[in-house]
């Protein structure tokens, strides 16, 4: 954690976000017990505070526990120790939405039915649902494919369906687990900018796990770097670029500088994780 100050870019705005934290991770750890083996200490102890309407990106080496953290926040997995608190208004039946890297959308439902599912489960009247779904389908360029099954769509289209479904329920917290990792670089940039525009139009708390430093800097208000397993926070930087942003920040000199700093802090962790894997054999 001592690297925070060092990594905080000049001109970054730590004082701009004093709002009450939306998510508080306190001393959380997670171990996995696999049959016949000793426990694997996957994550933590970890401390993290995520502000209301903050867009937080989490980067770290593969297997460092990023997804574990996300699943704990989601409530799909309980921490082994410590605690995670999420403030929700209590007005939503579904306050937290998640976009998965894959599997999130159902092949047995049409695009429309997939996007509609969350709304349907909240029991909204169908006319209202139809309006909301149509709006999201249009915003993500899916109108034409509304009645197709996901099996007939490309990967990029499928991930759009997944994003549309998460956003259609208007969640207070949006969790995204490497949502664009399976896409090609061009499509990835398109979807990044779509997400950027959507979020800037209607801000909400987002925790976004990614491998891509560029993606993290483009989208995030803040980027957290996690260590090799067991994953802890080793760096935490504020991203200074003004909102609303566009993809143009990629060419900013500061962008390159920040990416370099992130890479420097991440590199030893990636190596450590890799070596840890080798030692096992």
């Amino acid at each position: 954690m001592d690297q925070i100050d060092h990594l905080t870019a000049p001109g970054s705005t730590g004082e701009e976000k004093p709002a009450a934290p939306r998510i508080t991770v306190r001393d959380a750890t997670r171990s996995f017990v696999t049959a016949g083996r000793s426990a694997v200490h996957a994550m933590g102890p970890m401390d993290l505070t995520i502000g209301d309407d903050e867009f937080l990106c989490v980067v770290g080496p593969s297997g460092c526990g990023k997804s574990t953290l996300l699943k704990i926040i989601a409530g799909l997995l309980a921490p082994s120790s410590g605690e995670v608190a999420i403030n929700v208004s209590g007005e939503h039946r579904i306050p937290i939405a998640m976009v998965f890297q894959d599997y999130g959308i159902y092949p047995w439902k049409t695009v429309r039915a997939n996007v509609d599912l969350g709304l349907r489960l909240t029991g909204r009247p169908s006319a209202e649902r139809r309006e909301i779904v149509d709006d999201w389908l249009a915003r993500l360029g899916l109108t034409e494919f509304a009645d197709a099954y996901p099996g007939a769509l490309s990967g990029g289209m499928r991930q759009r369906v997944s994003v549309a479904r998460a956003l259609a329920i208007d969640p207070e917290v949006l969790l995204m687990d490497e949502p664009f990792a399976a896409l090609d670089a061009q499509l990835r940039e398109v979807l990044q900018e779509e997400l950027l525009a959507i979020w800037q139009a209607r801000r909400r708390t987002v925790v976004f796990v990614t491998h891509s430093l560029e993606e993290a800097l483009l989208l995030g208000d803040r980027v957290v770097v996690m260590s090799a397993r067991p994953g802890r926070v080793i760096a935490d930087i504020n991203v200074p670029f003004e909102r609303p942003r566009t993809g143009a920040v990629r060419t900013d000199a500061l962008f390159a500088k920040l990416r370099g700093e992130l890479r420097t802090s991440l590199q030893p962790q990636v190596t450590a994780q890799f070596d840890a894997g080798k030692d096992k054999r």
């Binding site: 799909l76 579904i94 894959d102 999130g104 159902y106 047995w108 439902k109 489960l121 099954y149």
Partner: protein, 279 residues
């Protein structure tokens, strides 16, 4: 030596409609040709007298056999009885198997309580239980139906339970994030995800139910197609046996086909035949 690999559209790409139509014709032709060929070889063997045509009646003698059974109405009676028994038994067993399979697939406690016990019962040949069922339900339809139902139940139960448990965690987690309850998880995720595999089990069970039917009718020898087979054998009316066997095969085929078609109605998101292999 240099070579150029070219990738060009083939017939399927250039003439998609025609290609598909041709494949449909080929498929139907092959499906009919194989049984016809089988019958032809069978007839040929009899004509060449490679086997004794009295003990192994050729297809040409099945016509008169069929006519005889038709005229005195026994064929219709036996078929109606058998079909009624198998459908009733199958429906009872399949419904019970689907319900219990889902309950067990969704509940660890139920699995822990019932799985070992059920597997033990599964292994018992149900025909061995026939005397018990005859004592309870008497000599007739009820015993046959119940025994078929029990057999079908175990096949369906296993396939449903394993299909439910095989539904990927990713699908479940996505639903959990939408705050589904147990019913909604079942309705939107587990049921549709498990359906393709369940229908495989239902088709297998359809075949098994016909096997069971004939076995039971063979043993208790009261009515039905199994009885006709058995009677033909004991009275040396082998044509009668053969006609009944062919009819059983036909019923089994149609039954499994019916289950398959019903399955297709429910599983519309899947390609019917996408099993691509290297040619």
């Amino acid at each position: 030596m240099s070579s150029v690999l070219t990738r060009r559209p083939g017939a399927a790409e250039l003439h998609p409609v025609r290609t598909r139509r041709r494949w449909t014709v080929t498929k139907v032709t092959l499906g009919i040709a194989v049984p016809v060929l089988f019958v032809a070889v069978w007839q040929l063997i009899a004509v060449l007298e490679w086997v004794d045509p009295f003990l192994y009646p050729p297809p040409s003698r099945l016509g008169p056999g069929l006519a005889a059974l038709w005229e005195d109405g026994r064929l219709v009676d036996a078929t109606v009885t058998s079909v009624r028994r198998v459908i009733l038994g199958y429906l009872l067993g399949a419904v019970a198997g689907v319900v219990i399979g889902f309950l067990m697939g969704m509940s660890r406690v139920l699995r822990a309580a019932l799985e070992p016990f059920s597997w033990a019962w599964y292994t018992v040949p149900k025909l061995a239980l026939l005397p018990i069922f005859l004592t309870i339900f008497g000599f007739g339809d009820t015993s046959v139906v119940v025994l078929i139902a029990v057999t079908v139940y175990f096949f369906v139960w296993i396939s449903v339970m394993s299909a439910v448990m095989a539904v990927p965690t990713g699908y479940r987690e996505a639903a959990l994030m939408l705050r589904v309850n147990r019913w909604e998880m079942f309705r939107h995720v587990l049921l549709p995800a498990a359906l393709p595999e369940i229908f495989v089990g239902l088709r297998i069970a359809a075949g098994v139910s016909v096997l069971m039917l004939v076995g039971i009718e063979f043993v208790i020898s009261d009515q039905g197609l199994g009885f006709l087979i058995e009677q033909g054998r004991t009275l040396l009316l082998l044509e009668q046996s053969y006609v009944a066997i062919v009819l059983v095969a036909l019923i089994g085929y149609l039954f499994a086909l019916l289950v398959k078609l019903i399955g297709r109605l429910f599983v519309r998101w899947r390609d019917e035949d996408n099993a691509i292999i290297p040619s």
